[in-house]
Symmetry: C2
Subunit: 150 residues, 2 copies
């Protein structure tokens, strides 16, 4: 399958929709889909309101969305340097295994470097196979997010 | 040593100073102390500008600061429920081993629970002995913060 990687700002609504569907499977608390949808919208807008954001998308020959990466330039809360935070990187199921995720990641890294970011940072759930995927691409675990129900 | 735990809002400047000194030891990038100070101030204010924040402090009989906890009610970016995020918990070196940190943590947890938070979340560096300290207090690793220099 041929694909190209281009600026993704025009696809934000579609990305939001895709992220909403995928993220719901990670939710561990019992909330209704309606409540989740509302909060997802609220969070998405709240995240977009701070920092310098960038979206890239992978498209096939018919301009269908195959995947996206959402990255944001911000100030690291531990190292106090300019960093790029990857909020999301996704490839649709039927287009996986073709290197599209890697290509999106490289594009995001190049964009961040051009803007003076010193490192790329991201969060990944501890039991997610993506941990290994990122390690293979040079990422190292730096910190843990720990939690306790109350 | 006797200590009491009270509202910490009056101590924010002192807490900021203590956090500035301690946090510098975690910085892995070569930036001057002046630059660091400026960015620390900027970050501290930026964090305080969003969410509902609370500070508690531990004081000795002479009202000297022995430790503090800084907690914030926010919306979780994965579970979409109200959570409490612990930004900082510190005890001064000469007052460690007396249970002050545990008492501050319990106070923060109580406060968060009263405000309807469903869980407490925090970030800890992967090689920090505090990981074990939190585990002993019921916290579990949920996600990894991964990074790559560019």
């Amino acid at each position: 399958m041929e694909y190209t990687i281009v600026d993704g700002e025009e696809y934000i609504e579609e990305i939001k929709k895709l992220d909403r569907e995928i993220s719901y499977s990670f939710v561990r608390f019992p909330i209704s889909y309606e409540e989740y949808e509302e909060r997802h919208e609220e969070l998405f807008e709240s995240l977009l309101s701070q920092g310098e954001h960038k979206f890239f998308v992978a498209l096939n020959e018919r301009s269908e969305l195959l995947g996206h990466v959402w990255i944001c330039i911000t100030l690291d809360t531990v190292d106090y340097v300019k960093i790029a935070y990857i909020y999301d990187i996704e490839v649709v199921k039927w287009a996986r295994g073709l290197g599209i995720g890697s290509a999106l990641l490289r594009k995001a890294e190049e964009w961040a470097k051009e803007r003076g970011a010193k490192k790329i940072v991201l969060r990944v759930e501890i039991d997610n196979p993506a941990v290994k995927w990122y390690e293979e691409r040079g990422y190292k675990a730096r910190a843990l997010i720990m939690e306790k129900p109350i």
